[in-house]
Amino acid sequence: MEAETQAHDDDKPAAHGNGDDHGDAGETSTDGGDTELHGLLAEFETPGALIAAARKVKNAGYTEFDCYSPFPVHGIDDAMGIKRTKLPLVVFGGGLAGLCGGLLLQWWMNAYNWPWNVSGKPTWSLPANIPIAYETTILLSVLTTFFGMWAANKLPQVWHPFFRLDRFAKVTDDGMFIGIEASDQRFELEQTKQLLVAAGATHVEECHTDARPEARSVPRAIYGVMIVLTVAALIPFALAFKARASKSSDPHWHVFSDMDFQPKAKSDQPFAEFADGRANRGEIVGTIARGNLRADDAYYRGLRDGQWITELPAAFKVDADKLNRGQERYNVYCAPCHGFDGAGHGIVPERVALRGGAWEARNLVSSDSVVIKMPNGQLFNTISNGFNTMMGYAAQVPVDDRWAILLYVRALQRGQNATQAELPAGAQVR
């Protein structure tokens, strides 16, 4: 290469057009007497010269050297003998982890831990899980590539001995350099220098580092700032923990209104927009809401022509299911006062008695009870609307269930007042 012809081992700055050259560092960096040789830095003119020189340095047996350039020079890898990076393999692993992780995440969350039924579709249906698995594959591959590359390059490392040389600033502009470290086994100052010159360097420079320990340690102030910042970053978390651990009677902050305060009228509240000043709107005169006609007097009210009915209404079909339903509902709603057998010994009167009070629930089954003589319609009405201290159950118990309860009460009455003769053979009380 022609670069060899113009190589001189001097500190004459290479001819530059734009005058931003700082090539006055001389051969050695001399700040502080106590220095240590880091290595040699040689400058080359063209990418081609750099490649040729790198090959020579490699062939001379050096291993602790590197080329520096403002852009990737193609052909340098081969000249320096750089082995292909294993990064793709690592990325493949990352991608595989992303794929498996993405599938596992979806399966565990949607199909295993909380099997979530969405319009009857299978909780684990692969086609619908592919897009997310695909994205997680790419995401993990990308993260592996990015962080893997920096880790393999041992970056960030904001300081490097060569940065001490002003000339090295050109490496991000137009400069091509070869740096040979003094730690290389073959490194011998003069010989190495000769090699670089022979390889076509236009400028060769020694790089020294400050050997004093204090010059190599991080300034105290930086530690201080880091500690302060770390502590400051913890403050919000500390406040959050304090708030969780302590009690307060103050209303909580409404950072987001969260629809807590909505401009709407709630039932039984005043509302100025309507003439009567009430939020509630009654039924419109002359109309009945759908399903509220209830024309069947016997079924809904236990009446026929203004008289209590004595039979069961036609709309109520009696069967074993109804009776069981009646028992179940009776045990829920009636037994607390009237007792499971209907004799009025429920848990409520008992507890009142325990506290020294006196309150009795009516005995529904004794042969002299008024209830036993009551027409069905009247008993239904009592269940629905209440009597004396008993409240009406129309609000809680649907019509059909009320008839079912009545049916069960009648069964209790029949059972409690049965005679020996009426019992089946073998079941008589002896």
């Binding site: 590197d66 995440l105 904001v158």
Partner: protein, 459 residues
């Protein structure tokens, strides 16, 4: 390609100094944008952007306090401008990834002049896009429920929903774009570090450049990682807009449910993105003095990609229309007739004329060379692509299967403010980028310039 000195670069006699001059020229021209006081144009531009951004803040604050009822959306028009804006902005972003990744894989060296700013555009466009789906959820402060995390409700996200796919696709895309962008920028940040004169810049750029020193061993891994990221971004960019299209296409809504939607959305995204790149780049190369780096050849190339993708989009319109007829599906065919003849016909014709007809001018070199004309056409394409999403979303929802639920969407002033505000966010971020980050990938431009081969033997 990038420098005036390229004619001499192969000449061995003067090659060395000419090559170095080329490199210095690139460094100087690009770093001067950041290291010398910015032109006067920047301040009014930034002011207007900040003003629009303020409008976004006002609109969003009002939305947080009141709810999405402030928009024109209602029970029938569940989606309107919010999702239109979302798809519009995500689409814009795709050109950046296409330029930085896909063209890299296809060895299109001309990309190096524009990829940095296009990538920045991607990130800012994705940022703008990201706010809309969050806002449209109604109670945006619970948006973090979409991130799968153990919680005291014992509930997990519903991964079989396309809207969840969106969350993953968009966040992966944003992450990848940022990392790719930043990684590409590190060598150039190192250049800024070395060129800065004042301490603050030196420290900030120094920290951001991670101590990059251009070592060949580092370049080797760096280039491999760059290639891998490009190879990963390509299927990613394809998937992102496909997933966005799934939001529509997995439904049974006529006009939404069609199988060509994924590639058609991707093509449309690239189309709109390239138009946006040119909308930004044409004035930028002028005010930043980068005309010799972002050259007329780059504009030719971008115009060609625009006409290609625009024509693909036009073809997809045609296939959709044909298949709607061919299918014999009454509702499908009605929807398409309604697009053309119904109450939103005006939007349909804006869409067709801006997206299919306007780019056809780019076939002709004379039109491509007239930059004012190119800029105006690109602005039309931006409008047209916004209307494409509007037509798809709004006209389909306004005429669903139940005629009793037919309606007509009318935006409110808050809709306008949110849309205009998103441009403010984009403009603010982009102008900050122009001022403080290297707008051209210097290392890459140098690497593909003829000067990069100076002094090499012919092998």
């Amino acid at each position: 390609m990038a420098s005036a000195s390229e004619a001499h670069a192969d000449d061995h006699g003067h090659g060395a100094e000419n090559a170095r001059e080329t490199f210095r020229g690139i460094t100087h021209d690009v770093t001067k944008v950041n290291l010398t006081p910015i032109g006067r144009w920047w301040y009014p531009a930034f002011g207007i952007s900040l003003l629009l951004l303020g409008m976004l803040v006002v609109a969003v604050t009002h939305l947080f306090r009141t709810g999405i009822g402030i928009w024109g959306n209602n029970n029938i028009q569940g989606w309107a401008w919010d999702i239109t804006n979302f798809v519009f902005w995500v689409g814009i972003g795709h050109a950046g990834t296409l330029i930085s990744a896909v063209l890299y894989l296809f060895r299109q060296d001309w990309r190096t002049s524009i990829n940095r700013s296009a990538e920045a555009m991607t990130i800012f466009a994705v940022a703008c896009a990201g706010i809309f789906p969050i806002l449209h959820t109604g109670r945006p402060w619970f948006a973090w429920w979409m991130i799968p995390h153990p919680n005291d409700m014992g509930m997990w996200p519903q991964f079989r929903s396309p809207l969840m796919w969106d969350v993953f696709a968009i966040s992966t895309y944003a992450t990848t774009s940022i990392l790719f962008w930043y990684m590409g920028m590190v060598p150039d940040l190192a250049t800024l570090r070395d060129k800065s004169k004042d301490k603050v810049r030196q420290v900030v750029y120094g920290l951001l450049s991670l101590g990059w020193r251009g070592s060949a061993r580092q370049w080797h891994r760096y280039e491999r990682a760059y290639l891998i990221l490009a190879a990963l971004s390509t299927p990613l960019v394809l998937s992102v807009h496909s997933v966005v299209s799934f939001d529509f296409a997995t439904s049974q809504n006529p006009g939404w449910h069609t199988t060509i939607l994924p590639p058609y959305f991707v093509a449309g995204a690239i189309f709109s993105g390239f138009a946006m790149v040119m909308t930004l780049m044409l004035p930028l190369r002028h005010v930043l003095g980068l005309k010799h780096i972002i050259t007329q050849d780059h504009i030719h190339a971008m115009c060609k990609v625009t006409v290609a993708t625009g024509t693909i989009v036009g073809g997809a319109y045609a296939i959709e229309l044909f298949t709607a007829w061919y299918s014999g599906n009454l509702y499908e065919w009605f929807t398409f007739r309604n697009r053309i003849l119904g109450p939103y016909a005006w939007a349909y014709f804006i869409m067709v004329s801006c997206n299919v007809i306007a780019p056809q001018f780019f076939w002709v070199k004379k039109f491509r060379s007239n930059l004012v004309f190119v800029w105006i056409l690109c602005a039309f394409i931006n409008v047209g692509m916004w209307f494409e999403r509007f037509v798809i979303i709004v006209s389909s929802l306004a005429r669903q299967a139940l005629p009793g639920a037919w309606g007509y969407f009318e935006p409110t002033k808050w809709d306008f403010m949110t849309l205009a505000g998103s441009f403010g966010l984009f403009g603010t971020l982009f102008l900050l980028f122009v001022r403080f980050a290297p707008v051209v990938a210097m290392a890459e431009v140098k690497a593909v310039s003829p000067a990069a081969h100076a002094g090499k033997d012919d092998h």
